[in-house]
C-alpha cells in the first residue's frame, strides 16, 4: 500500500498549501496555530470542488445517477476514515459536526441513557472545554459525580491518583489523548485496560492525536474516540465519533428526523441501523469527502513520518525557546512525551500583546486559555501563548518565533 518513509519533503508539502505562500503585514506568513485548525492542501480543496462541479446531489435519497455517485463517494470517505484509525468496520464511524458534537452526542445519548444518580465520571484536569462542559451539565442534571485526574508537576496525568479515583461507581473514564495546551501525550492502553477492569467505558478525545500520530482504536481498545476533521487537513463542519458496535447499537439516537429512521408511521417510528441512526438530516457529505481526501494525504505521508517530523520540530522548539530569556514553557520537557504544541509565557508580556506584536511580523500564534480554563487555573495563569506545528512547519519558522519574541520584548522595553 503506502510507502512509509521516515521523513518527507516539507518543501514539497508546502507547495500543496496555497495559503502558506502569502505575506502578512509585509512578512512571509508563519502559521503556528494548527492545533486550533489546520490549513488545507490542494487535494482536499479539489476533492470538494469536484463533488460540487461534477457529482453533487443529496445522498441516500435519489435513485438517479448523481445521487448514487454522491452516496458512493460519501460511503467511501467513511471507509477511508475507518481504515485510518483501525476501526473494524464502517458501521463504527458516525459523522458529526466536530469533536464537540461527538462528545455531546455521548453525553446525551449514552450517558443520559445508562448513568444513574451517584454514578461517577472520571475526567482529567487538562480537558478542553468540549470534554468538560457536557459532563458538567449532565452532572448537574442527573446528580452524577465528576472526578478529575490531577497532573504531576511535569504536566503528565498522575496515574497513581487515577488508581485511587477509579471506583466501582466509575462508569465513564475520559481523557485527551494529547493535550491541546501542554502537549502531554497520554498512553491510552494501560488506562483503558484498568478502566475496563473496573467496569467503566472509556472515551478518548483524539482531537489532537488523530491528526498527528498513528492511532489505532482496536490496539488501544477504547470504547469511543472523537476527533474533528478541520484539525487534520479537512474542512470545517465534519467530525467523527468512533464507537464499538454493541455500544452504538444499545444507545438511543441523539438528534432525530430524516435519514436516521427505517420506518415512520403515525404512531410508530423505528431507527435506522448504525451509524445512520446517529446522522439525522442531510449530512455534511461534501465535507466528509474532503476529510476522506485529507486522510489519503496524511496516509501517503505516513503517520509515523508525520509524528517523527513533529517530534523533531518540538525538540528544536523546546531548545530554541528556552534560550530566550523570560520564556517559561509549560508541560513535559521530554519531546517524546509531547505533541507539537507548546504553551508558554514571556515574563511581563501578556500573551495577547505578544500575539499582536508577533502578528506584525506575520507570525500567527494563539493567545488565551485555549478552551482549557480549569487547566490554566491549575497552572496559576490566566492565559498563555501557544505555538503549534504540523506537517508544513519548518525549523526556520521556530527561529522566526524566537526572534519575534525578542522583538516584542524590545518594543515593550523589557530586557
Amino acid at each position: 500500500m503506502h510507502t512509509q518513509r521516515e521523513f518527507f519533503d516539507v518543501h514539497a508539502v508546502r507547495r500543496d498549501f496555497p495559503i502558506l505562500q502569502q505575506r502578512v503585514n509585509g512578512k512571509p506568513l508563519v502559521f503556528l496555530d494548527s492545533a486550533a485548525s489546520s490549513q488545507k492542501p490542494l487535494p482536499v480543496l479539489e476533492a470538494m470542488e469536484r463533488v460540487y462541479r461534477e457529482a453533487y446531489a443529496n445522498v441516500h435519497r435519489g435513485v438517479y445517477a448523481l445521487s448514487e455517485a454522491a452516496t458512493a463517494a460519501y460511503d467511501e470517505a467513511r471507509a477511508k476514515i475507518a481504515r485510518f484509525i483501525g476501526a473494524p468496520a464502517v458501521e463504527n464511524i458516525v459523522f458529526t459536526r466536530n469533536a464537540t458534537e461527538a462528545l455531546n452526542l455521548l453525553a446525551y445519548a449514552y450517558a443520559r441513557a445508562f448513568l444513574r444518580e451517584g454514578d461517577e465520571i472520571l475526567l482529567t484536569e487538562l480537558e478542553h472545554h468540549a470534554n468538560f462542559v457536557p459532563w458538567m451539565v449532565l452532572a448537574r442534571e442527573r446528580n452524577v459525580t465528576l472526578k478529575f485526574i490531577p497532573l504531576t508537576p511535569e504536566g503528565l496525568l498522575d496515574l497513581d491518583a487515577f488508581e485511587r479515583l477509579l471506583t466501582e461507581r466509575t462508569r465513564i473514564v475520559t481523557f485527551a489523548h494529547v493535550s491541546n495546551v501542554l502537549g502531554t501525550i497520554t498512553d491510552p492502553a494501560p488506562i483503558i485496560a484498568r478502566a475496563h477492569a473496573a467496569g467503566a467505558i472509556v472515551i478518548v478525545d483524539g482531537s489532537q492525536s488523530v491528526p498527528h500520530m498513528p492511532v489505532n482504536v482496536q490496539a488501544m481498545d477504547c470504547d469511543f474516540l472523537v476527533f474533528s476533521g478541520h484539525k487534520m487537513l479537512g474542512p470545517t463542519g465534519i467530525g467523527v465519533l468512533y464507537g464499538k458496535r454493541a455500544l452504538l447499537e444499545a444507545m438511543p439516537p441523539f438528534l432525530t428526523g430524516g435519514d436516521m429512521i427505517s420506518y415512520v408511521g403515525f404512531d410508530d417510528v423505528r431507527w435506522n441501523d448504525v451509524p445512520l441512526k446517529f446522522e439525522a438530516g442531510t449530512p455534511a457529505f461534501v465535507e466528509a469527502i474532503g476529510l476522506g481526501a485529507a486522510v489519503d494525504y496524511l496516509s501517503a505521508l505516513g503517520m509515523d513520518a508525520v509524528r517523527a517530523h513533529e517530534a523533531q520540530l518540538t525538540a528544536y522548539a523546546l531548545e530554541r525557546l528556552s534560550e530566550v530569556s523570560g520564556v517559561r514553557i509549560y508541560g513535559p520537557q521530554d519531546p517524546q512525551r509531547r505533541g507539537g504544541v507548546i504553551a508558554f509565557t514571556v515574563n511581563r508580556i501578556h500573551p495577547h500583546d505578544l500575539a499582536s506584536l508577533l502578528d506584525q511580523h506575520g507570525i500567527a500564534i494563539r493567545a488565551g486559555h485555549h478552551c482549557a480554563q480549569p487547566l490554566h487555573q491549575r497552572l496559576g495563569v490566566n492565559a498563555t501563548a501557544r505555538a503549534s506545528f504540523y506537517i508544513y512547519t519548518e525549523p526556520s519558522e521556530i527561529d522566526a518565533l524566537a526572534e519575534g519574541i525578542e522583538h516584542a520584548k524590545r518594543a515593550l522595553r523589557i530586557s
Binding site: 500583546d353 506584525q360 490566566n382 515593550l412
Partner: protein, 134 residues
C-alpha cells in the same frame, strides 16, 4: 503597520502608570467582567456625586493585556465628572479614538472591556435604584 504603532508611547504610558487604578472603599457601586476569549478581567468601582447624577471618582483593577488595561485607564481619566446618563450612551468610538491606533476585531473587544463594565455597572445601579423606590 509598524511595530511601534500598536504599542505607542501613550498606550505604554497608561499601561505602566495606570490612572485611577485600585479600588474605592466608599463606592456607590462596582461591577466586574471578563472577556471570555482571553480571560482578561476588569473591575470598576464608581463613586457618584451628591445628587447621584455624575461620576465623582472611579477606580479600576484587574488583569489583562496592555490594550484592555490602558484603554480602561484612559476611559476613566476621560469620564471624570461626566453625567452617568451620558456615559451610558457613550459611543465606543470614544474609547477607540483615545487608543488612537487601528485595532483588529478581537483586540477591539479588549479595548472595549472597560467601557462594557462601566456601562453595565451604571445600568445595574439604576435598576437597583428603581427597585428601591418602587
Amino acid at each position: 503597520m509598524a511595530m511601534s504603532d500598536l504599542y505607542r508611547e501613550h498606550i505604554l504610558d497608561h499601561y505602566e502608570n495606570p490612572r485611577h487604578h485600585g479600588t474605592l472603599a466608599d463606592a456607590d457601586f462596582s461591577h466586574e467582567e471578563s472577556n471570555p476569549l482571553c480571560g482578561d478581567h476588569v473591575r470598576i468601582d464608581v463613586k457618584l456625586s451628591e445628587d447621584k447624577t455624575r461620576i465623582a471618582d472611579a477606580a479600576f483593577s484587574g488583569e489583562g493585556c496592555i490594550i484592555s488595561q490602558a484603554a480602561t485607564s484612559m476611559l476613566l481619566e476621560s469620564v471624570m465628572g461626566w453625567r452617568i446618563d451620558d456615559v451610558e450612551q457613550l459611543d465606543p468610538q470614544h474609547v477607540l479614538s483615545l487608543i488612537g491606533v487601528p485595532l483588529t476585531a478581537n483586540r477591539v473587544k479588549c479595548a472595549l472591556l472597560g467601557l462594557k463594565v462601566l456601562k453595565t455597572g451604571i445600568k445595574l445601579w439604576k435598576l437597583q435604584q428603581m427597585q428601591h423606590s418602587a
